[in-house]
């Protein structure tokens, strides 16, 4: 199961890399969103997938799932949500200002 999830994470990274290397801002943003999903899967797998019972202290329970990665992922999801929301607004403002979402059209320095 771990191997499968890791392969899935790898596929997601490949997809995200492809998207990030394109010229359209929207695709890049989608790429970063997929990238964060990939790392969340990686975090989860690194703590070991489900084995044993829920991590609640009780008698007769020896093996339990590591709860820490879940907490880490929860935090990371919130952060990537906030960042994605912000960058979408930023891209929209940039589009309104320049009328383009193509990175080539945004090249050039000192044009003000």
């Amino acid at each position: 199961m771990e191997t499968l999830i890791i392969i899935l994470a790898g596929v997601l990274v490949a997809v995200a890399t492809y998207l990030i290397l394109s010229k359209h801002i929207l695709r890049i943003i989608l790429g970063t969103a997929i990238l964060s999903h990939a790392v969340h899967l990686l975090l989860m797998t690194m703590g070991g997938l489900k084995r044993g019972s829920t991590p609640i202290l009780a008698e007769n329970k020896v093996a339990y799932t590591d709860a820490l990665p879940q907490a880490l992922i929860l935090t990371a999801i919130v952060i990537s949500f906030a960042v994605t929301a912000f960058i979408l607004v930023l891209a929209y403002r940039l589009y309104r200002k320049t009328g383009s979402d193509n990175l080539d059209a945004l090249r050039g320095m000192d044009d003000e």
Binding site: I20, I25, I28, T32, L35, S36, V39, L42, L43, T45, M46, G47, L68, P69, L72, T75, A76, I79, A82, V83, F86, I87, L90, A91, R93, L94, K97, T98, L106, M109, D110, D111, E112
Partner: protein
């Protein structure tokens, strides 16, 4: 229990920031509150520094969870010195912002986000947990994204888009590195990590993971991977740019010091050699950038890059003198970079031009501004009465002890190039024929100069008052050199 004060440098700005959002129409009150919060943070860090000096490293286990399990804050001299400096610099930048940033920014919560930025910076300095470091980084970065793009000029939006994407990628690598490290050693508490890595003797796998951290912090600090930096730092309003130049890269530098002295210090022939190589490339690249540009703000931004390379020379040498030197230099650089950004911004605001070859003879119009720039320049080049000197001497001594003569040569050649790059600005912009006649001269408001004067006094005081600061810096370097002190402090409190 008195250790609870340790959360103040992060919690106070967060709470103030939240409060400021609700006080949107009351600009004057916002100014007062934000200034009070920053000064309070600074005062708190002085108290904490004294306490560290008296009774050793402070820790607080948040929520009462015992060390390896919960998140904790660890205040050692290194972290608290930086918290103090960050508070001072933020206070001065706020002062500059009050008179320059304009109502549009003030009504759009600029002060609240400066508070959040400071909270993230202080949190990064104080945290004792690697994942919490990531979270504090993100708090700081989100605030910086907003501060960078606030105002919505075309150039600002374009540069902040690049900045955001670069940082999303580097945060992603950070998470990947954390995931691998957790998979490899099963903990994220820094003291616990340090123990476990020491037990395993830093296996090649762990060294590989450490290189991932090196890449992450290089992106944040602008070590080799600084291509995003000059653009981002030259787009926002001056007060914000000064804050960025003084604080943001330094947090990356701090994280690099922490990680490579506390966690991954067993294979210096690999990690520290790479840090040395990267520092050398940064020094060369930054110097070329600083000399090749004519735009004052870009020159100052490249000086940030050179300083990062310089501090990393200290980390690469990793002797006690070199680390002490780096800590001095870190504090000095936060003050002087803020000063230079403020002066460059003031020059551009007064002349309406951003290239130094379009300015001339400003010293006649604005003598004080010229002399402040001169002080900043000398301080950055490391001329004795000012604060850059002691850091440079100690780093030089450290590299000689470590026998890394190439780094030594590069570090000091780069100092000369720093001097040259700023001297070019000084010679062209302040000397020469005065082109602005007295009638068309824009009046220089006192409130524009006061922050720079404060910072210039700061660099002189820091230069002359090294003796006062010495015990704190020695203590800080001591903890960096002996990870055991840090580990014991975290685990003994029980």
């Amino acid at each position: 229990m008195m250790n609870n004060v340790l959360v103040f440098p992060m919690v106070l700005p967060v709470l103030t920031g939240i409060l400021l959002i609700f006080l949107r129409p009351y600009i004057r009150l916002q100014r007062w509150l934000s200034m009070l919060s920053v000064l309070g943070t600074g005062a708190m860090s002085i108290i904490l520094l004294q306490r560290v000096q008296a009774s050793g490293i402070l820790t607080i286990d948040i929520g009462g969870w015992q060390p390896p399990f919960g998140i904790l804050f660890v205040g050692d001299s290194f972290a608290l010195l930086l918290v103090l400096t960050a508070s001072i610099v933020t206070a001065v930048c706020l002062l500059y912002a009050f008179s320059t940033i304009g109502p549009a920014h003030e009504q759009m919560h600029v002060y609240a986000f400066i508070q959040f930025l400071l909270a993230g910076v202080n949190g990064s300095f104080l945290t004792g947990d690697l994942f919490n470091l990531f979270v504090c980084f993100e708090v700081m970065l989100l605030a910086s994204y907003i501060l960078a793009s606030l105002g919505g000029k075309r150039k600002q939006l374009r540069e902040s888009l690049k900045y955001v994407i670069i940082n999303i990628l580097s945060s992603w690598i950070f998470l990947v590195a954390i995931a691998y490290l957790y998979g490899a050693v099963g903990t994220l508490n820094m003291a616990h990590l340090s123990e476990r890595i020491a037990e395993s003797g830093q296996t090649p796998l762990l060294t590989t993971i450490s290189m991932l951290f090196l890449i992450v912090f290089s992106l944040k600090a602008g070590l080799v991977l600084y291509f995003w930096l000059p653009g981002t730092y030259s787009a926002p309003p001056t007060a914000i740019a000064a804050l960025f130049g003084a604080l943001l890269t330094k947090v990356g530098v701090y994280a690099m010091f922490r990680v490579f002295t506390l966690l991954f210090y067993h294979e210096p022939s690999i990690t520290h050699t790479w840090i040395g190589i990267m520092a050398a490339i940064t020094l060369i690249g930054g110097s070329i950038g600083a000399i090749s540009s004519k735009d004052v703000r870009v020159i100052v931004s490249y000086n940030v890059v050179i300083a990062v390379g310089f501090m990393m020379v200290g980390l690469a040498a990793a002797t006690s003198a070199a680390l002490e030197g780096s800590i001095y230099y870190l504090i000095h650089d936060m003050l002087v970079k803020a000063l230079l950004f403020l002066l460059a911004g003031t020059m551009i605001a007064l002349t309406g031009k951003s290239k130094f070859n379009e300015m001339s003879g400003l010293i006649r119009n604005y003598p004080l501004l010229g002399w402040l720039f001169f002080i900043g320049m000398l301080s950055l080049a490391g001329i004795p009465p000012f604060s850059g000197f002691i850091g440079k001497v100690l780093i030089g001594k450290g590299t000689i002890e470590a026998g890394t003569y190439i780094l030594l040569a590069l570090a000091f050649v780069s100092s000369i190039l720093v001097l040259y790059s700023l001297l070019r600005v000084f010679r062209n912009a302040f000397w020469g024929e005065t082109v602005i006649s007295l009638e068309e001269e824009k009046p220089l408001k006192k409130s524009w100069l006061v922050p720079s004067v404060l910072l210039a006094i700061g660099t002189i005081v820091l230069g002359l008052g090294v003796e006062v600061l010495a015990p704190y810096v020695q203590d800080a370097a001591n903890v960096l050199l002996q990870p055991k002190l840090y580990i014991d402090a975290v685990f003994q409190s029980k």
